[in-house]
């Protein structure tokens, strides 16, 4: 079963996504901010990462860049309510595999994950 790390400072979002992914056969681990995401990635090397952008301590774009430095193969999908072109451009330039705008529809998330894991 693929393992997905869910990184979001919102407990509500982490739990909601974890339940959705469990229904589709994924195992999940969680991180509350970008700093924790980097540490957890080093320890567990999940198959994919769902990463919020706006988080305290270290934001998602900083965590994305840091993880890709030591794990260039990392499959990271950004999740954010910030549908601003410069945010999406930065995420893709840094190496995100996809960029989804909140609120995210379950089908959209599963499709994006399946696509990233198949690549």
């Amino acid at each position: 079963m693929p393992t997905v790390m869910i990184t979001d400072d919102s407990l509500f979002i982490r739990v909601k996504i974890a339940k959705l992914l469990a229904r589709h056969g994924y195992e999940t681990i969680q991180a509350e901010d970008g700093e924790q995401a980097v540490e957890v990635y080093r320890e567990t090397s999940p198959d994919a990462v769902l990463m919020d952008v706006t988080m305290p301590h270290k934001n998602g774009l900083q965590a994305l860049a840091e993880i890709l430095q030591f794990a260039p193969e990392a499959r990271i999908i950004m999740l954010t309510a910030l549908a601003q072109k410069s945010v999406a451009t930065t995420a893709v330039t840094y190496g995100a595999k996809d960029f989804l705008v909140k609120p995210i529809h379950p089908d959209q998330l599963i499709t994006a994950l399946d696509r990233v894991l198949a690549a």
Binding site: D9, S10, L11, F12, I13, V15, T54, M55, P56, T80, A81, L82, A83, Q84, S86, V87, K102, P103
Partner: protein, 203 residues
């Protein structure tokens, strides 16, 4: 364009410019919230109000009631703060919508409930900023802070939310928009407050 001038121009456009910019931004918020909760959320026309700090408390809630405020800063690009304010009963109804639970399920503000409401605040301000960003490229990325959810008496909430802004001015400039679901089980006000240090009204 420099940061301060860019901010001044954007706030000036929003507050004193054509109303459609502000209207469009609040409609974006309503659409985003509709998508989020799965129920239609509509908004009234935004109102720009300049009011003495002493009057602001009355708009937050009646003494003796318990209210919920979801408070965020605008962290980059455009400086200011935003607050969603609603009575506790409506906040619990909103939590039920978020959790896809029958109305009456949420009865108190635990960690999960606060987190759900925080996400409402995050999305509301993000969609507002997304809309403003479409016409305000000179100020870069517009980003909210992580949200804080405050539950308490109107006076307590007011002190926490507006104290630093109020310390600089006797009056507060507030862009106020009312939102509700069509069944009127959830009603709240969304306040956007420009940073009072930006002298946006004067050249």
């Amino acid at each position: 364009m420099s940061g301060q001038n860019g901010q001044k121009e954007v706030w000036s456009d929003l507050i004193t410019g054509p109303k459609w910019t502000l209207y469009t931004a609040m409609q974006h918020v309503a659409r985003g919230l509709t998508d989020m909760v799965g129920h239609v959320i509509v908004n009234d026309a935004p109102q720009v109000k300049e009011m003495p700090v002493a009057q602001v408390q009355g708009r937050v809630g009646a003494p003796g009631t318990e209210i919920v405020a979801i408070y965020l800063h605008m962290e980059s690009g455009l400086r200011g703060r935003a607050v969603l304010i609603l009575p506790l009963s409506f906040a619990l109804n909103l939590v039920d919508l978020m959790m896809e639970a029958p109305r009456g399920t949420a009865t108190s503000m635990g960690l999960m409930e606060r987190s759900a409401l925080g996400e409402v605040g995050n999305l509301a301000l993000s969609f507002f900023l997304n809309s403003v960003a479409e016409s305000a490229s000179q100020v870069g990325v517009l980003q909210p802070s992580p949200p804080s959810v405050i539950v308490g008496a109107p006076g307590t909430v007011l002190n926490m939310v507006v104290t630093s802004a109020a310390a600089m001015n006797d009056e507060l400039l507030i862009v106020e928009t009312a939102f509700a679901d069509t069944a009127k089980t959830v009603e709240f006000r969304f306040w956007v407050l420009p940073d009072p240090t930006i002298n946006w009204a004067h050249d």
